[in-house]
Amino acid sequence: MIEEIELLVIGGGPAGLTSALHAGRYGTETAIVDDAIRPGGQLIKQTHKFFGSKMEYAGTRGFQIAELLLKELSKFNNVKIYDRTTATGYYEDGVITCLRGEKYFKIKPKRVIIATGAFERMIPFVGNDLPGVYGAGAVQTVMNLYGVVPAKRALMVGAGNIGLIISYQLLQAGVEVVAIIEGMDKIGGYQVHSSKVRRMGVPILTRHTIIEAVGEREVEGAIISKIDENWRPIPGTEKRLDVDTICLAVGLSPTIDILRQAGAKIVYIPELGGDVAIRDEFMETTAKGIYVAGDTAGIEEASSAIIEGAIAGISAAKSLGKSIPDFEKQIAKLREELNNLRAGPFGEKIKQGLEKLSRFSI
């Protein structure tokens, strides 16, 4: 049997939940598919307070934002969540297959919002497959969600916001952070985050990289090295650190598998994290009726994912023929909010990426 529905949202993170909320508000029959043990995406492990404005829940901690969104969603009888469910494929007749435990089922929606987020990047070094080398987000998950620390002494690779924030959270959980290393000549993340870890005595070494994870069965150490302007290790500058865990916070790439299957046109935009879908101002891709929002659409932040989710949700509802008062005004306001979020120096890269993307006409 195929379940027919107006809107299917794939991914229950900030973008997906918000899009369902905004579509659901106008009576759209909506289902959300999410593969985690509990929905909320990466918000549920984020203990830091958000920036931005009221629209993005500024001042609220990430996991509390997830709770708020889920609570709001539970008020709608026309929105349901398939948790612990993986969307396994998109077929040419518009059917999306899903797997929940041993149960396999099919959904045929009129519209789809793809909000599948991102995955952590890996960098090459000797022993990078050893147990004890983690994506930084993985450590954050087991630590902040389940109260388990995998480490006593950790090395953080990457001084962007994720590397800085998770280093601080490792310290909060009682783990010693031996160092944060960064390949660039400056710290990539916000100063508010770097100051926090520095105050707690963690050195941030710029122009450094990891060249080896030491250990037979598990990580027992790390060899780091200075690098030159061409990112080549400088011989003689190697240093062995005594760590049992190496966290990689070296960037994210959008998860676009389903978009590809659906035939949406994809282009490579480094500023947005890699391969992303071409879309119009309503977040609709070149595959008619299929929208994107959040990190899937380009690596940014949960705040902007929330706004993009709102745009995609309202637009999908509108295209389904729902009556939406002030549609244009609402979209304009959301776009303005996105611009505000991207106004600072950190939004520069995103804006460049979006500018490149806009040259590919839809």
């Binding site: 593969d35 985690a36 043990i37 990466q42 203990t47 901690r61 612990r84 993986t86 995955f119 952590e120 890996m122 497959d129 050893l130 147990p131 004890g132 080398v133 983690y134 994506g135 987000g137 993985a138 450590v139 998950t141 087991v142 630590m143 902040n144 969600l145 389940y146 109260g147 388990v148 620390v149 995998p150 909060q172 959980a173 009682g174 069965r217 598990e218 998860t255």
Partner: protein, 101 residues
């Protein structure tokens, strides 16, 4: 290791239940991902790689990367990062592709 004290978070634990890892009885909280219980018990090596037999552990923790495949109750390729722990689970290190048991 479990976090004992945290400045922001409070961990509400469910029931402590027994499970086995390669025949050894260990304990974890019901419903938490299997990986959390294993990590708490100091288990980080989860499987060995297909060709070179190298040890593999957790990498992404969100069900995307395939690094944490283990045999759970006879079923190979179970992603233990998003598989909830149940009382009496039989969890085994997976070698290579793993086989149904």
């Amino acid at each position: 290791m479990r976090i004992k004290k945290h400045p922001i978070l409070e961990f509400k634990h469910t029931r402590l239940v027994p499970f086995t890892f390669d025949g050894k009885t260990l304990y974890g909280y019901e419903g938490e991902p299997i990986i959390a219980a294993l990590h708490d018990n100091g288990v980080r090596v989860l499987r060995t790689s297909l060709k070179l037999n190298r040890p593999r552990g957790l990498f992404c923790a969100i069900g995307h990367c395939a690094s944490c495949f283990m045999i759970v109750n006879g079923k190979p390729n179970t992603r233990v990062c998003i598989e909830p722990l149940r009382e009496g689970d039989v969890i085994e290190t997976q070698h290579g592709k793993g086989e149904f048991k």
